[in-house]
Amino acid sequence: MVGSRTGSIGTTLGRRGFLAGAAGGIALGTLALAGCATPGQAAAGGTTLRFYEQKQEVIAYFDELLRRFEREHAGVSVVHDSTTAIAPQFVRGQPADVGCFNDNLELARYVERGVLRDLSDLPSADRIRPSIAELGDQYAKYPGRVSVLPYSLAAAGVIYNKKIFADHGLPVPTTWHEFVDVCTELQKAGITPVYATDRDTWTLWQGLFDYSVGSLVDTGEFFRKMKAIGPDVGPDSEVSFEQTFAVPMERAKTISSFFNPDHATRSYADGNLAFGQGKAAMYLQGPWALGQIALIDDKLEVGTFALPVSNDPADRKARVNVDLGLWIPEASAHVDDARDLVEFLMQDEVIDAYNSDNLAYSTRKGAPAQTDERLAGLQQYVDDAAFYQGAGTFIPTSIPLGNYLQSAIRSGDFTSMLRRLDADWRRLAGRSATV
């Protein structure tokens, strides 16, 4: 519904989990108190750092890390807080000393305005894989600065039910034709090929839209050009939604014909439940859904593959996002300690352990593979840097992409949707919207 268009593990669950949010709020309250009560602060002249982090599922995890940091750095105590909203801290002029947030279009606003400090001289900055380091720059870059250090990379594809595939002798599709064949076979067998949850509109753009586009269009390049063309985007410009996304949206239209009949009224929670109960063969969701599915049936054998949308298997790519990135605001009063904390978190064994424990990928060069069986199908794409950031993540939330997709799926008219996206893009660019 409302909320930033991030598709991160943290926000997707946080946004949806009404109760989880409340529980998180209570948890962070206690943690903040715990932070204040640490001996580090009691010591006279000690520094208190504030660490803001976005993911509610990993509050306890980070809290343990921070306590370890305090033990190693006498005189420094860290207050640990969790929020999905970046704006209020900056509006108040009191941003955290270290932020650990999803690197997306929202964070890009802060990068662009230069309120985040340059971290390029940190030793850990050189250890990050260049192909991952440049992902954030696709949204925004402040000249001459490394504003955000990618900490955790999440990769997403099609989650599939291995048992259903095996029972019907179906292969994991590697081309678009194979994918359609698989769907048709499943449909004949009376099984829902793809479970969709239109009610939560973010699931439509992060799955159907992003996957259909990602392997056919270089999203970083496309949106770089779209920004340059701005108010002149249209059917005749070098790139446009209408032109460039025409084929991808044909794919999306076909895929949507394989949805569960009641997709229009199902929510994300319904989807996790149905998929966990084995009611559908495939599910266009990211790793954040795996934990929810396991809550329904932790014996369910699931795997992940990158959606093939062309007939050349080599075109396949995985959708990724920088699920957590570390940054230090210009306004921080304890820069040296903040940098120590970043360096502490970026240590090889710390960053690798975090990512392997949380269904994600470490961002440093030579990081070990993600060993979780459910994500094994995506490892190759991450290793080869055959990945893209979802097209939907480049579109500002002022354009209600998810809602447009709802209509398009219903009417089957994706072309009008693309024209509307172009028109909205022109309008946003025209009124010099700060996106």
């Binding site: 305005r113 309120v115 239109d198 229009a264 939330t397 002022s398 809602n403």
Partner: protein, 318 residues
Amino acid sequence: MTMQTPLARETDQPAPGPATAATRVHRRVGSLHRTEPMYYFFVVPALVLFTAFVVAPACVGIFYSFTDYLGFGAWHFLGLENYKALVSDPSILASYGFTLGFALVTVVVTQVIALALAIGLTKKVKFAAGLRSVFVIPMVVSGIVVAYVFNYLFSNTLPALATSVGFGPLEQSILGDPNLAWLSIVIVSAWQTVPGALLVYTAGLTSIPNDLYEASALDGAGAWKQLRSITLPLISGFIVINTVLGVKGYLGAYDVIVGLTGGGPGTATSSVAMTIFGGFTGGDYAYQMANATVFFIITVLISVLQLAATRGRNLRLA
């Protein structure tokens, strides 16, 4: 700040020594022409809080609607740019269309239902007291909770019922149908706001003296004639209050829509309040402040028009 003087004077009063009863009375009479200082005690705190937390932020917001402010950092003055962009933005215009239409329909539906219930409950219906409490229950449940409960009913229960009795049109949830989704919002909003209106009407109806009905009955007036010639004219003031408050409330519709449709399917049920809020999360702060300013003016205009159109025959008996 100007209130300081009379306040101080009032507290000073006992100090000058044993004033006679006569002078005290004299002073009281004199102060009748001024406002009784006591009233300032009631008004000032509210006024200060209202100014600090409503008026001042609103003025700041209106100011920023002329800029490209993000909520933090530097900004530039844009003049009327945001406003010009507003009027050519189809999604904004659509949200106004939806919100106004929804407010109009819902206020009519709510008033008719509430009035009918109120009339029924003030007549000698069996279990009237018990029924009254039942009807008031929706008032005490928060909007978002109501919306989520109805969401479940519309998405699951109703289609399942319709399927079991073979009623085609309702087998698919109306929440997924862009032409019907607004109905669900009208239904839930009405369900939620009828009790409030019902209470006001009940108060209005009990204020009508019973002899009027008795006299008219002697003259041969039937129930319908009584309703048209006695009840409705005498409670017209209450109808105005309910309509004005109702329209104002429905124009700001937010929680019920978020819980039911999230503005969808497509953008079929996106209200103005939702688009405004979207601006805060979407980095479109200044633009949506312009939208909010326009919306504020429209809401004020509608309320003033409503009051003006009904002035003269309202509230006299209330």
